[in-house]
Amino acid sequence: MKVSRRDVLKGLAAAGVAVTAGGVAARERRAPPAGAVGMLYDATRCIGCRACVTKCKEANNLPWDRSQDGLYDQPIDLSGTNKNIIRVAAAGERTSFVKAQCMHCVDPACTSVCMIGALHKEASTGIVAYDMDGCVGCRYCEVACAFNIPKFTWDRALPQIVKCELCRHRADPRRGGIFAVANPACCEACPRAAVVYGTRADLLAEAKRRLAEAPERYEPRVYGEEDGGGTQVLYLSARGVPFERLGLPELGRDAVPALSESIQHGIYYGMAAPALLFAAALVAIARRRGPEDGEG
């Protein structure tokens, strides 16, 4: 078979077009699992007592972040020793507390990029869980997460990723219902029910009920209903304190990994493009040698 250089180049160009066309094919929008659980945080109810921060540390066996004098637990951000934090956010004259922990995205970026599924989304609950035996510590999850949630134990010689897993280890099958799958310590500790645990469907309904009941009190939407493909932890913010002020990024409706996955799966659709390239390369290599090929 005679294949000219022109044919090979044409083949490569065709593969390139196929790749580009495949790459723009949109990715389907994912729905939360039927049994999705999560949390609802209402910033108007939070008094910043940080009981949730302390309780989280106890429940997850995390070391204290001592203040300089060594007397006070004083975490200032999420870290390898802290899965939950209360911050103060300022918006003009107003201030607001805000809680930060894993958002348990409906369609998470971290699980999209994790090589062999150390970070994975539990099929029934939608909890974004970490199985450290499959983690090589590449930290791509930290690069990918738009909320900057996964943290790394940088000070350890044998490190790991640390993030909120919704206290799935505190689940109690005897209690049944939502407590059979998880039991977040922060929700248990909160004296004002500013953060509550429940199914995502219930929490979303409750958030909308509060919005309808006292519209003057709140920013007029639930963060996480649609944002970044939806999250299983939902937020309400006080009127006049936009969600971006709380450190919650403007993501639009698309899931964070939607674009990257569309392109990656487009290029590698059915492994057609690499297979085609391989075949074209084999044919070209086996082609009758030209006068330039020299001895051999």
């Binding site: 999209s112 990029v113 983690c135 590449c138 690069v143 990994p257």
Partner: protein
């Protein structure tokens, strides 16, 4: 297989330059011990905002692009059958094998839980369903491709070493070479084809990796065309590395430079560089991001420096295509390499902003480890070209200006 005449360079291995490299390696090894005993926090400036530093951005992302010379020259010699480039192939493949091995070494230093690395290639088969290949992860594809391609490169590098052992090696090595060479000869087309496809896959995916950072990567760099731009830059950078490696070898190892052949590469390189600049500008313009490019900030400045370097490289290389002179040739190739390297480092570090006030600047330990890996790479290269037939044997008569062109 068409075999261009190549010969061992001979000469002393342990030169003063080689001794300096040994010292760099020793110092870097101490830094490496610090990293493995004290952890990444002590050893590096990386943090939860910038979880990837120079070991990824430079050693892997830039290093493997410069190590694409083997792929880029093989494309010319074996796929397009441009046999006159054959003398460049062996040193290019060796440089690539070393560059990829260096990148792989950097990854072992970089990943926190390196003892789990073995799981990645075999995940679906050993964990009873607990772990498996996540094909959404571009990094998985990069990891598997880079492992496979590094192996392919060493197989491609093997013939000159095996030929030497077959002809003059000690007994067991001679037997090994006699057994292995016919097998290699048979499998060569498949190996060569893999050597073209695998780099195209993972070099483009190195660009795709940052697509997921939608809120963190600056608008001038975040584009669906990242995979294409990374593919274009790796081919150009690969040729640039071939030219630089040839010039440095001829200078430090004292043999004349094969300028006529190298000069022919420059037309291709100029085209690639111009195409890259055009695609970037068109992409930014068509997606309405020109306002970002005219903003008065250092992102806009870096963007124009990248474009400027690429355009300058195209112009300089185009002028060299008929009358390649060693000095200008190497300098213009260096401009192209710089354009590609800056683009790649910008995508991974400078144009990447996780917010929240995070900052990153590489630590001394990170630099020392990078330098040590580079020095080992260079020492192995010097050793192998002196002992085995890798560099072209027939001395091209040196042009009159060759002697003073490489000071």
């Amino acid at each position: 297989m068409a075999t261009a005449r190549a010969a061992p360079l001979g000469g002393k291995v342990l030169t003063p330059f080689f001794k300096i490299l040994l010292v760099v390696w020793a110092v870097g090894s101490v830094a490496g011990i610090v990293r493995f005993t004290q952890g990444l926090g002590v050893a590096s400036a990386m943090n939860d905002g910038y979880p990837w530093g120079i070991w990824i951005a430079v050693d892997v992302v830039v290093g493997t692009a410069l190590g694409s010379g083997g792929f880029a020259v093989a494309l010319l010699v074996h796929v397009l059958h441009r046999g006159r480039f054959h003398p460049l192939l062996r040193p290019a493949l060796l440089t690539s094998a070393l560059g990829y091995t260096a990148g792989a070494t950097a990854i072992v230093f970089d990943v926190g839980r390196y003892w789990n690395l073995w799981r990645v290639p075999v995940a679906p088969f050993v964990s009873g369903g607990r772990f498996g290949y996540n094909w959404s992860s571009g990094l998985l594809e990069v990891a598997l491709c880079v492992m496979a391609y590094t192996a392919v490169l060493w197989v491609e590098v093997a013939p000159p070493i095996l030929e030497t052992w077959r002809d003059s090696g000690p007994g067991p090595l001679r037997a090994l070479a006699r057994a292995a060479l016919p097998v290699l000869e048979k499998g060569l087309p498949v190996i060569l084809a893999l050597g073209v496809v695998l780099p195209m896959m993972h070099q483009s995916t190195l660009g795709s990796l940052m697509l997921v950072a939608v809120t963190k990567l600056h608008g001038l760099w975040h584009t669906p065309l990242l995979p294409l731009l990374f593919l274009l830059t790796c081919v150009g950078m690969g040729y640039a590395a071939v030219i630089a490696e040839a010039a440095l070898s001829s200078h430090t190892l004292r043999y004349p430079l094969a300028t006529p052949v190298l000069g022919e590469l420059t037309g291709i390189m100029a085209g690639l560089s111009a195409l890259y600049a055009a695609v970037r500008l068109a992409d930014v313009a068509l997606r309405g991001r020109l306002p970002l490019a005219v903003a008065a900030d250092w992102h806009a400045l870096l963007f124009w420096v990248e474009i400027g370097l690429a355009v300058a490289a195209a112009a300089l290389l185009w002028r060299q295509r008929h009358v390649a002179r060693p000095g200008p040739l190497v300098r213009s190739a260096a401009v192209l390499a710089a354009a590609g390297a800056l683009y790649r480092i910008d995508v991974y570090l400078t144009a990447f902003d996780p917010g929240n006030g995070w900052r990153y600047f590489p630590s001394v330990t990170e630099l020392l480890v990078t330098l040590a890996i580079l020095s080992v790479e260079t020492m192995v290269f010097i050793f192998l070209v002196r002992k085995f037939p890798i560099l072209p044997a027939h001395r091209v008569s040196a042009p009159p200006h060759a002697a003073q062109a490489m000071p």
